[in-house]
Symmetry: D2
Amino acid sequence: MRLVVSFSVTPIGTGSTSLSKYVKAAIGVLKRRGVAYKLGPSHTDFEARDYAEMADVLREVSDTLFAAGVKRIGVSVKIDDRRDKENSMESKLGSVF
Amino acid sequence: MRLVVSFSVTPIGTGSTSLSKYVKAAIGVLKRRGVAYKLGPSHTDFEARDYAEMADVLREVSDTLFAAGVKRIGVSVKIDDRRDKENSMESKLGSVF
Amino acid sequence: MRLVVSFSVTPIGTGSTSLSKYVKAAIGVLKRRGVAYKLGPSHTDFEARDYAEMADVLREVSDTLFAAGVKRIGVSVKIDDRRDKENSMESKLGSVF
Amino acid sequence: MRLVVSFSVTPIGTGSTSLSKYVKAAIGVLKRRGVAYKLGPSHTDFEARDYAEMADVLREVSDTLFAAGVKRIGVSVKIDDRRDKENSMESKLGSVF
C-alpha cells in the first residue's frame, strides 16, 4: 500500500444537523469493498494502492449519498503518499508510541 | 463540470522551507493538461468532470514531485460535488458578489 | 504577519444547497475587522499576527452564522506558520511566478 | 464542550521524511494540558470549550515544534462547532454505531 487517505464527507442542504446516517452509508461502501479502514471522530482513514483506487472509493461514497437524496456534498481528503517505505495506518499510528 | 477541487501539496523531508519550485511543478501539470485552474495563496483550485479525472491530475502532480526527488508528500483536497446545478469556480466565486 | 490562514465554513442542516449568503456574512466579518483577505472559489485566505487573532476571526464568523440561524457548522482551516522569514498572502503567491 | 477539533501538523524543510518525533511532541502538549484527545493515523482530535482554547492548544503545539528547531509548519484543522446539542468525540463516534 502506498496511500493512507483520511476523509470526511459533509452533506449540504439536508435540513438536519444529524449526519450519522450518511457516515453509516459511507462506512458501508468501505466494508463492501473490503478496504482497510479506521473510523475516527472527525475523519475516516483507509488505505489505497494508488490515486485511481482512492477515487473509486470516493466516487462510490458520493454516489451512495446522492442516491440517498443528498444534492450537494463537500469532501475533505488528506493523503499521505510516500515511496521511501511501506505506508499503512498501523505504521503511522505505531511510530508515535 | 461537476467537481470543483481545491488542493495543496506539501513535500515532506526536503530540507528547505521554500516550496515554490514544487508549486510551479504542480501548476505545470495543470497547464499541460489544459485543466481550468485558479491559483491562490494556500490552495490551487481546478475543475474536473469526475473523481477519475481528479485522481489523474493528483497522480500526475504526485509523480512530478517524486521525479523531482521528493520522498514523501502530503496532499490536502477539498471537493465540492453537486448535481443540482452546474458547478464551476466562476459560479462559486460569482455567487458571493 | 506570521500566519497565513486559509479557511472555509460549511453550515450543516440548513435545508438549502446555496451557501452564498453565509460566505457573504463571513466576508463581512473580515471587512469589518480590517483584516487583509483574499477570496477564492473554495477557501478564503487572511493574515493573522498569531493564533489568538486567528481564533478571534473564526469565532466572530461562527457567531455571525449562528446568529443567522445556523445550528451547526464545519470549519476547515489551513495555517502556514513560518518564523524564518516574513509571511504574507502576496509572498506566497508571488514566489511561484 | 462545544468544539471537536481534528488537526495535523506538518513540519516543512526538516530534511527527514519521519515525522513521528514531532507528533510525539504535539501529543505531549495535549497530555500536559489535560485536554481530552484521540490519536488517529492522520489526525489527532481534541475537545475545546471555545475558539480561544483551541488557539491556545495549537499555539503551544506550534511553539513546541519551533523550539525543536522546525522553521515552518503547515497546520490543518477541522472544527465541528454545534450549539444545538452537546458535542464530544464520543458522541460523534457513537452516533454511527
